[in-house]
Each structure stands twice: as C-alpha cells, then as structure tokens.
Amino acid sequence: MSTIDPVASTAEKAQHALMSKAQAEAPRVRARRTPASWVRDGGLSTLLFLLPMLLVFGAFSWYPIVRTVIMSLQHTNLVQPATWVGFANFSQVIHDPLFPTAVKNTAEFALLALVFGYPIPLLAAVVMSEVRKRRGLYSALAYLPVVIPPVVAVLLWKTFYDASPTGVFNTILGWVGLGPYPWLQSQQTALPSLVLESTWANAGGTVIIYLAALTGVNHELYEAASVDGAGLWNKVWHVTLPQLRGVLLVTMILQIIGTAQVFLEPYLFTSGGPANATLTVLLLIYNYAFGNSLGGDYGAATALSLMLAGFLAVFSLVYLRATRSWSTG
C-alpha cells in the first residue's frame, strides 16, 4: 500500500503529493508548538483530568514502592534518622534461620492450595453449569463465604477446629469413630487446616469467574460432542477445559501469587505456630516489622518484601512465556 498505484489518476497523484508534502512539514509545525497552543489543543484539560489519578497513584502506590526500595537499604526505627547499610538487610534476611522455614511453609501452602484448592472451584462451576434449576441459588451459596468478613470466617473456623473432643469437627468425626484431632494445635496438621479454610473462603470468587467463562463456551460444541456419543466426562475434558484454558491459566497464576502472599490465615489462626509450622514469608515480614515491641526491623521487612516481589515478577514472566502457546493455541 505504500507504493503509488500506476493506474491512479493525475488528481489522485497530485493529492498524494500534497499529503506527502504536508507529512514532511509536520515535524516543523509541531516544533513551533507553544504552551498557549498546547493549552488551546486541550493539553491542560487532559492533564487536569489525569491529575487526580496521578496524585492517588503517586501517593498510595509509587511513593510507597520507592520508599520501600530506599528503606531496604537503610537501618531505621522511623523515629530517629535512618542510616544507610547497603545490602546488609538482604544478607541478614538470607542468613536468618527462619527464612528457609518461611519459604518452605509458603511453598507447601501454595502447593496444597493448588492441588486441593484449585480444582474444586472448577468442578463446582462445571456441576453448577449443568444444573438447570436454582442455578442462582447455588451460585449465591458458593459465593457466600467470600462475603463473610475474613476475620469472622477465621473465628468461625477456630471453633470448628477446637481440639477438644467437643470441637465441631471432632464431634462430627467422633460420630464415625474418628479423632479427636489436634487440628491447629499440631505441627503436622496446622498448615493443611489453614489451606482447608482458605479454600472454603476463596473458592466462591473463582467459581463465579468460571461460571461466567462457561457461558462463553459455544453450545454447538457440546451438541456436536453429544452427537459423537461423548458423555459428561468427555465433554468436560474435550470441550470445556480446552475452551476455558485461557481463564484457567490466569486463575492459576492469580492463585499462586495470592498463596505466595498468604498472611491472614496464619496470622489470625496460629500466629505462625506451633513452633513456626505455619510461619509464612509474609508473616515473617510482619514479624520483622512489628514483632519486636521496641521497634521493628523495617529494613529487613522491606528487603524481604522486595525479594518476594522480585521472585513473583520473575515467576509470572516465566509462567506467561511458558504458557503463551497454551493460552492462545
């Protein structure tokens, strides 16, 4: 399209020549632009419209990020003047004996949540999409835990997890001759107990996403599969999952990022105990910052925050690259 059509009319050629001249002169015209012409052309109003967003982002997102980077290189109690310590905070975090414990626990939480927590919303959404009656009611029920304030949910589950024989779960399991189990009071069962509650609390949101995505799946594909004699499982495996793969990949990375930053459950249920069995990376960051009443180690806290952010950024990039062909193929 960039070459001139040999059969074009003279008028068209002339017009083209004029346009080319105008294009050639364009940079010269732009160079003469003055503040007055910038205002006249709407530059000021654009800036005014942008300003609230710039201020909000600047104050609440960009400034804290820059401040975090600076603090990670400082020793400060936020009252006295800070001193520069280079990368000492990073070194301190890496050599902290609790650091590998926190990384291991976080990885274990993320893995358990992925293995058990990830398929459940998908399964629930597929089943619910097959239900013809009261689908709205089931959606509402699935979403209900998301609506319950997290602190309330944790308090509720704390009573479920009561380790005495009269605890809710222990009573129910007792009916079939099981238990009582220590739940949160044991180093072995504490972390899986947190995963269970977390899955219950968060699955509703993902179910809604899957239900929305399922409405986009072409019904003719299911009809064609039925004609070919496919049952429910084959329809799910060969139609639903391939059609949802873009959404599935996005929810998976969101879940991994979310579980890598798990804080609420270990903080409210166990404070990282028993004996650091539920200490996660974010809880360790919190402990660095606020665990000591004499003033936190804010340098170490921000250093570990940056390390986590860096890891998640790299992980996300690798994940997106590795799954690019699947999500678009």
Partner: protein, 463 residues
Amino acid sequence: MKSKGRAMKSIRMGMTVAAVSLLAVSAGSISRAATSSSPTVTISVASLIPGSTKAATQQFANQVTQFEKANPSIKVQSVEYQWTGPTFAAKLAAGTLPTVFTVPFTDARTLGDNGQLADLTAEVKALPYYSKYNPAVIAEGTDSKGQIVAVPTAAYAQALHYNRKLFVAAGLNPNKPPTTWAQVESDAKQIATKTGQAGYAEMGKDDNTAGWILTTLVYSLGGRMETGIGTKATATVDNPQTVAALNMLKKMRWTDNSMGSNFSYGWSDINQAFAAGQVGMYVSGSDVYTNLVQASNIDPSIYGLAPIPLAANKNAGVLGGGTLAAVRPDANPATAAAAVKWIDYYYEQPLINKAQAIRNARTLTASKQPVGVPALPVFDKTQYDLANTWIKPYINVPLNQMKPFSTGIFAQKLIPEPEASTQSVYHSLDAVVEAVLTDQNANIPSLLQQAQSSAQSAIRQGT
C-alpha cells in the same frame, strides 16, 4: 457588551463578599485569641483495654471529667489501649500512640535510649513525692543518660491463679493451693481427670508470652535467662532449670494429659478461658484479677491466688515486672507537662494521696470495678500498706481468697525480668514451648540450642 459588563459586576461583587468574609473570619480569630487567657492543651490518654465493660468505661469517663474540672486548660481524649508487642510496635512506627500510654518494665529503658519516648525528667522530679519512689522501680523508667522517660504506675509479681470451684469439684482443698511444682502436677492431673477441664494451662502463643511464662518457671527453679547487661550480656536460656521446666510441661502435656487441648493461649485468651471455668491453674501477673473482672466477667467466688511455688534452690525467686506510663517523643513542653499532670492524677495519686485514693476507690466501687487487687509497692512497703488502709472500706475483691498470695509474696525473692533484649529473649523461647506442647517427640536440647543462638544474636544486636 451588556452581558460582559454584568459579568464584571458580579465578579467584583463576589470579590467584595470574599474579602469581607475573610476579614470577618480574621477578626473572629483575633478576638478569640485575645479573649482566651491560657491556651487549651489537648492530650490523648490510654484508657481501658478494648472490650471493657460499660461500667468500667463510665468510671473512666468520670475520672476524666474530674481531671478536666481540676485542670480547665487541659482537654483529655480517651483512647482504648492494650499493650501487646506487635500492636505497640506498629503504633509506635505509625505515630498513632496516644500522648500518654503504658509500657512494661522491660521496654522503657531501651525505648528511651532509642529516642522513642519524651524526656520527663524535669516534670517528674518536680512531683512532691518523687523522693519516695522505690529506687529500683524508678530505675526501670530511667534511660542510660539518666533521663526519666517513664513513670512507674504499677508493679506485680508472677502468681499462680487457680479456680476454687474446679479444686472443689476435683476433691482438692481450695484453701490449700499447691506450694511445690510436684503438687501443681498432681493437682492438675486430678482436676483434669475429675472435671475434664485443663488442670494447668500455660500461655503458648508466638507473641513472647510463652517465653515470659517459661522464664517465670525457670526463675522459680533457680535458673536465669541471661547474665550481664546491654549488648554485652550473655544469653543463658539453655540451662538445667529450663530443661527441667520443659520436661515438667512435657510430662503434664503428654503423660498426665492434664493441660487440656488448647496450647496457643495468649494473655487475653487464657484469662477468658480461666474466667469461663476451663482452666484449673495458670501463671500470670498478680494484678490480672482486674482484667478478669473488666473484660472476662469472672465470678469472684471461683477465684484463688497463690504465690508461685519455689524450688529448694538459693537462686529460686519470683519474676516481677510492672507498668510505666510514658509520653510520645513528639510532645512539646506544654503537652508533656499536661501529660505528667494526667499521669500524676490517674496513676500516682491513688497510691500516694489519701483523699485521692479514697475518692478513686469510691468511684471504682460505685461502678463495680475491682478495688484492692494485690500488687507490689511502687513506692515503699510502708506507703503500700498505708494506701491499703485508706481504701480498706472500699475493697471489694475477695481478699480471703487471695490470702495465700498476699501473705506469701513478701517472703519471696523478687527477680526482675531479663534486662537485655527482654522481648527478643522471650520470643526465642516461644517456639520451644510451642514445640514441647505440640510435638511429643520434641527434642528439647536441640530446641534450646537454637533458642540460645537466637537470644544471643538479638542481645548482640540490641534488638
């Protein structure tokens, strides 16, 4: 042109109105400034802990009203407050602490050295009763430069709190609480067997309380958690008494099964569980009865207080601590002066001034708040006894049920909390206690070795 003229006219009119308004506002401010003789100072003060009863809140409000009446130039704003390690650190960093707040004995000196508390030396030394302070107690609020950065308001000794009702239900004599740790073990076992409740429970949370109570046990057996002072102190958490204390807990937890099913109690949780009749015995500060009434609605008839059993070891003693009132470091001189006035009125006068002590006790009794809870002297023992005689008619706590403590405590050796990096030393022990209570095969020597290393590292860093 006509419309343009009208627009100009309205702009001029608007400007005139704005100028007149501005002048009026300025004149108002000037006249207000001219009429007020002394500027009002507003201070925010730590009031009661969150969750306190309405009666307790009302009683505090009455005290504020009385103070403001006596000091018309000071306005007091009450802020609910409870000292916990993590929330205190967050509030300190965010600058959201009230003007007057309280800190434990363990923290004031270091906070002062770090420039995180206001210097109150001049104001405190000007108090008429300054010379009467117990030197060891006022030293807890004095930093390394000799500046007074916090004022002692209460002192306590660790004590054994026991549920008389559960003692009776288990066939034990509620007037004869255990006096040895072996008796604690056997009584706990009997309570657990006969009542199904925890015979003995212990704070086991990862918020330094687990380490605090373990240290109490170790002191009572004759051990210490550190020697020396400051960053040159040596951690000694890995000692024979700590091993003995942990083995005792292990036996009660796993062999006797007398510690119930909750091993992650924090300070408030265990108070609530005790008031709810789920705990036979536990260790906490001798003054905890106030909280049991204000936040946990305890039935006074179930309450019993005894001294901590001490081993037959010349170093055995009872861990003592206390609370100090401090002021934000950014307080200006006028605010700091007003803050010390409040500290004097609210915390110190009831201990030193007969009229105020009686007025305070009368107000507390009227709102059904505890009066006469056993404590240790902030001034001297004579002053403490005298103050108790002033308020005798108003004492409403079950003193008879606290007799084992009040008669026994002054015969016990009082040992202050570890001085260097106290909270960090406690924190290093949290995981050890948690492990022993939640893992039957916990390797005590290995756990203590790790705790020793982290405690020593914290001491070196001064954190």
